[in-house]
Each structure stands twice: as C-alpha cells, then as structure tokens.
C-alpha cells in the first residue's frame, strides 16, 4: 500500500494516547512552546500556512482566529467540534483515540492566539470509549502543567473540559453545538452574529474541527513554507480521508490534499471486495455529491471537487459497487436527513419529509407527472432557504444523481410501467 504522509497522525498509534511524557518525547508541545514565546506572530503564521477548516466548510483558519483576536471581551472560548456525525466519517475519532495530546496542543495554540482561557471539547455521545481516553489524557496534561493554570510556566492559563453530546447530527453545526452546550435543544442560530464575535454564552468563541486544530502544532514548529509544500495552492497540507462502503480496506488514511479519488480507491483502499466493479462514489459524506466511477481521476481538493461536481467535505469517500441501487441509497440518505432535521426552519422540516416521499414514489415506480420537476424545485428552495447546512445540503445527493444519471428516475418509473410524467 502507498505510504501515508503523516502530519496530523504523525506517531499516532506508536505512543500511548494518554501519556504527555511520551508525546513530549516525540517533540510534542513544542508548537505550543513556540506560540507562548511569540504570541503576536501565531495568527500570521497560521494565515501564511493557508490552512483551511477540515470539518467540511473549508474556512481559512487564520482568518477565523483573527476575528476573535480582534474582538474585546472579558472571556473568550475555544470549542473543539468533536461531534463527528457525518455518516461515513470517523477521522476525528482516530485522532482522539491515538494522539489526543496533539489536539490539546492545537487548542492551546489557538487559545494563546486569541486570548482565551477556557476550552471545551464537544464530543458526540456515540463515542463513549473516546471520552474515557480524553478524560485520562486531559488529566495527565493537567498534571504535567501543559494545560490548566500557568501552562508550561508561561503565566498563561488555559484549561480544557469535555462536554458529551446526546445524539444529534445537527449539533455538528457550530451554533447548534453552542446551544447544546448551553443546555438547550441543538437548534442552529441565525448568523450574524458569528460565533467568533458572539458565541458561547454570548462571548467570542473559536469553533474548529478536531483535525483543523491538530494541524496547528506542526505549523508552529515547521513553519508555513513547509506546510505549503504539501497539498494544493489554495488548500495546502494533508487531509485525513475516510474510505468506507464497498471497499477492501476501509479506514482513515492521511495523504496530501489533491490526491486523486482513484489513488485512494485503487492503491490505498484496494478496490471493491470480491472483484466487484465500482459503480459510484459518494464524496464528502452523506450530504455530499454522488459521482460515477468515470470521475475517479478527480483530485480530492476543495476547488477540484467543486469543479468536477464532487464534494470535498470532510474528506469522506463511500464506495458503492455494481450491486448497489442508487435510489435505495438516496432513500436511506433522505431518511437520515428527515430524522435529523431539528425542525426549527420550515424548508428543512417539511422539505426533507417531502423529499423522502418523492424519492419513495420514484423507488416504488408510483411517481406522477410533475414529480421530477417538484423534486428539482423543492431541492433548489431548500438549498437557498434553509437556515443551516443540514437542509441546504441534504438535496445534494439527489441533485448529483439527477445530474450524472439523468435517466435513472425516468427509467425507474418506466420499468414499473408508469409513463405518466415522461
């Protein structure tokens, strides 16, 4: 198998995830040390690295930090979004289970940069076994003076607490996550104000994904030029790719941004099991586009994916072999969004219910004249009218299937003898 390019997962699995000492021995917490010595240069260094958020939105991390750094407040917060709920993603779990100190170090660097003294990790309830590791690793870091008061003898305070969610996909949306931390239903807030200015309990809050934060230590130690030597011009660095579905070697692998889907599928993942042929790939998670096998040469990069009609998202690839039925998969995906819609905004609450009804009509061959147009119109309304990313992106798989397999919906109804709307 191709050798991985390990930055975030460097030494992951080689050392105890709990022990700060072992992490220090492999050069851990050196990025934080550097950050504490030259506080005012941190944000410029991160900006120069070109690091973009790894949770799916791809927002420039340095820019996000600068908004919060420039906001005056009595208290600021760093929140790590570890509510990894996107079906087909478990990269953050690997980081937290194998090398959690790198995440703590990244959070501390971000805290020093913006002047925050309290951090939280919002961990999804589906990862109870990860919580155990994080608690032990946090206690160890606290004992060693790496987090808590007077970190590394610098006079700076920064502590991290664990917050366990309770089973809700929408809580991965940053403002829903904040509401959840405040003891409420996880319902997305209207933006602006953005969390960077007005977040947790109204205070400026940096919310970043586990992988994003775990990139900061190496950037501080090795510098932006080194970081830019990997990945693409507009999205430098490496990415943790999750391969799942009908693939011989499912799992999480770290490679430079821009690695092609074909490389990941053939050389890393070993192709479909049992010699089956690949039919389609869902890119970027459950809310990402489904693309045909003919587009395998698309590089996994934010811009290249957008251009080809794929989705970079959080770097997930779900492979579907020749035995899969796309309408069956679409039904499953839409059931997921219908279940997970929080219900706050009408286009999402009602829209996903109607999308599911329509998909089932097509699947059963009972679609009526006009249903295809209705599906398109509804999808477009949801993309523009929903409050948060859940509703805005839940039509993506459907629209991508309509684009790449234009005959599928029609054929399916024909096959069942329903010619009504053709």
């Amino acid at each position: 198998m191709m050798e991985q390019v390990r930055v975030v997962l460097d030494h992951a699995g080689d050392i105890s995830p709990i022990s700060s000492e072992e992490y220090l021995r492999i050069g851990g917490y050196q990025g934080l040390k550097k950050a504490l010595e030259a506080t005012e240069t941190i944000i410029d260094t991160i900006k120069a690295s070109g690091l973009r958020g790894r949770g799916g939105a791809g927002f420039p991390t340095g820019l996000k930090l600068s908004f919060t750094a420039n906001t005056q407040a009595d208290q600021k917060y760093i929140v790590c979004n570890a509510d990894e709920g996107e079906p087909g993603t478990h990269k953050d779990r690997i980081i937290m289970v194998e090398i959690p100190h790198r995440l703590f170090e990244g959070m501390a660097i971000a805290a020093v940069a913006v002047g925050a003294s309290q951090g939280y990790i919002y961990l999804r309830a589906e990862y109870p076994y990860v919580a155990t590791i994080l608690e032990q690793a946090l206690a160890d870091a606290r004992r060693q003076g790496l987090i808590g008061s007077n970190i590394m003898g610098s006079g700076v305070d920064f502590d991290i607490q664990l917050f366990i969610g309770a089973g809700s996909y929408v809580c991965g949306e940053e403002t829903a996550l904040l509401d959840s931390m405040e003891g409420k239903r996880g319902e997305p807030r209207f933006k602006p104000p953005f969390p960077g200015v007005q977040g947790l309990w109204g205070r400026p809050t940096i919310i970043n994904n586990v992988e994003t934060l775990s990139n900061l230590p190496a950037i501080m130690v090795k510098g932006p030029k080194w970081f830019r030597s990997m990945g693409t011009e507009r999205c430098p660095g490496t990415k943790l790719f999750t391969l799942c579905g009908n693939i011989a070697h499912p799992g999480v692998y770290e490679f430079p941004v821009g690695t092609t889907i074909r490389t990941l599928f053939e050389e890393v993942g070993g192709g479909c099991p049992r010699g089956k042929k690949l039919m389609a790939v869902q890119t970027g998670g459950a809310s990402g586009n489904i693309i045909p096998a003919s587009l395998l040469d698309t590089p996994m990069d934010i811009d290249a994916c957008a251009e080809a009609g794929a989705t970079f998202g959080a770097g997930d690839l779900m492979f579907m072999d020749e035995d899969s039925c796309l309408l069956d998969v679409l039904e499953n995906l839409t059931e997921f969004f219908e279940e997970e819609s929080c219900g706050k905004c009408t286009p999402c609450r009602e829209g996903n219910t109607q999308l599911l009804r329509l998909i089932r009509e097509f699947r059963n061959g009972t679609a009526q004249e006009g249903d295809l147009n209705l599906l398109l119109e509804l999808s477009n309304v949801m993309r523009g009218g929903c409050l948060c990313g859940l509703g805005q992106s839940s039509p993506n798989p459907i629209l991508s299937v309509l684009r790449f397999y234009p005959d599928l919906f029609v054929e399916n109804s024909y096959r069942k003898g329903d010619l009504a709307y053709a």
């Binding site: 079906p87 087909g88 076994y129 089973g167 003891g183 409420k184 499912p250 459950a286």
Partner: protein
C-alpha cells in the same frame, strides 16, 4: 424500579445530582445523562420533575431537551442498549440482514424491549464505526463486521453475561 421504596430511593439520588447544579441550566445535558443511567436508561416524569425542581428549570425546558436528543428516552428501556447503525455506509454493507438477525435472536422488533427488561434494540444514525461496518454500539462497546451469524453469537453471549448477573 420495581417497588415504590426503590423509586423513592432513585428520586432521592436524582435530586442530589440535580441540586449540585441549581441555577446552572447549561448543565442540563450532563445531568440528564447522569440521572438517566440511575433511573433505568430512561427519564420518567417523576425524574424530570425532580430535575426541574432541583435545578430550578421549567419542566417544559427539561422535556424540550429530553425529547430532542436520541440518547435520552422518556420510555423505559432495557438494561443493555443495542444501537444498530442504519446509515448509508452500514446500509450498503447489509444493515437489513443484521437487523433481522437481531430481531430474531432477541424476539423483539426494533424500538422494543425484551419482556425480561434486559435488552432494548434501537436503530440509530451513524456511530462513526464505518471502518468496521455494518456495526452496532452495545452500551459503550462497538461490535463491527456484523453478519447474521455474528449477531446470533453476540446476542447469545450477552444473554449469558446478563443472565448470570
């Protein structure tokens, strides 16, 4: 909870947990996790009312949160929670077969609890175990690469462990 005495005992424990966080509405979710565990994997009305009284939070707000999150349940559930992932990465690898194997082995449908009160079978959304799909979360442990045969073995071993307790 069988007898009234036991119920009152649980409510006392619930009150003690909730009272630690009086006027801290932000602690509601951690408190609900904790009280649910001691109240038999569910949040019955008396428990919700006790939490509301002790934390000084309106009862409506307790229900607002308790009914929103899938890990909370108002209905009584079994001692062991079996959560079978139904999302796409598991689905394309055979959730349907594993689900019917679970239903047959336990003698219940998804969403139900076995008559002896030991097991509840839930269908859930992604548990982030796509590398070992199809997968299920049994309390705090992930079981992956499930096949109908493996499911039968798993249920048998769980029944043995629980039965001997």
């Amino acid at each position: 909870m069988t007898t009234r005495e036991e119920q009152l005992c649980v409510l006392e424990e619930v009150a003690a947990i909730a009272a630690k966080w009086r006027d801290r509405p932000d602690m509601l979710i951690p408190v609900l996790h904790e009280v649910q565990t001691i109240a038999g994997n569910c949040i019955p009305k008396e428990v919700a009312m006790t939490v509301a009284r002790e934390m000084r939070i309106p009862l409506a707000q307790i229900y607002s949160a308790a009914t929103f999150y899938s890990f909370f349940s108002l209905e009584k559930r079994g001692k062991v929670l079996i959560r079978l992932c139904r999302t796409a990465p598991c689905h394309v690898k055979g959730t349907k077969e594993t689900l019917s194997a679970f239903e047959q082995a336990l003698g219940i449908k998804a969403g139900e609890t076995t008559p002896d009160g030991l097991f509840t079978l839930e269908i859930c959304e992604c548990i982030g175990a796509c590398d070992v799909s199809p997968a299920a979360l049994v309390d705090d442990t992930v079981y992956g690469h499930l096949t109908p045969d493996k499911v039968r073995e798993l249920v048998a071993s769980l029944q043995e462990t629980e039965g001997s307790r």
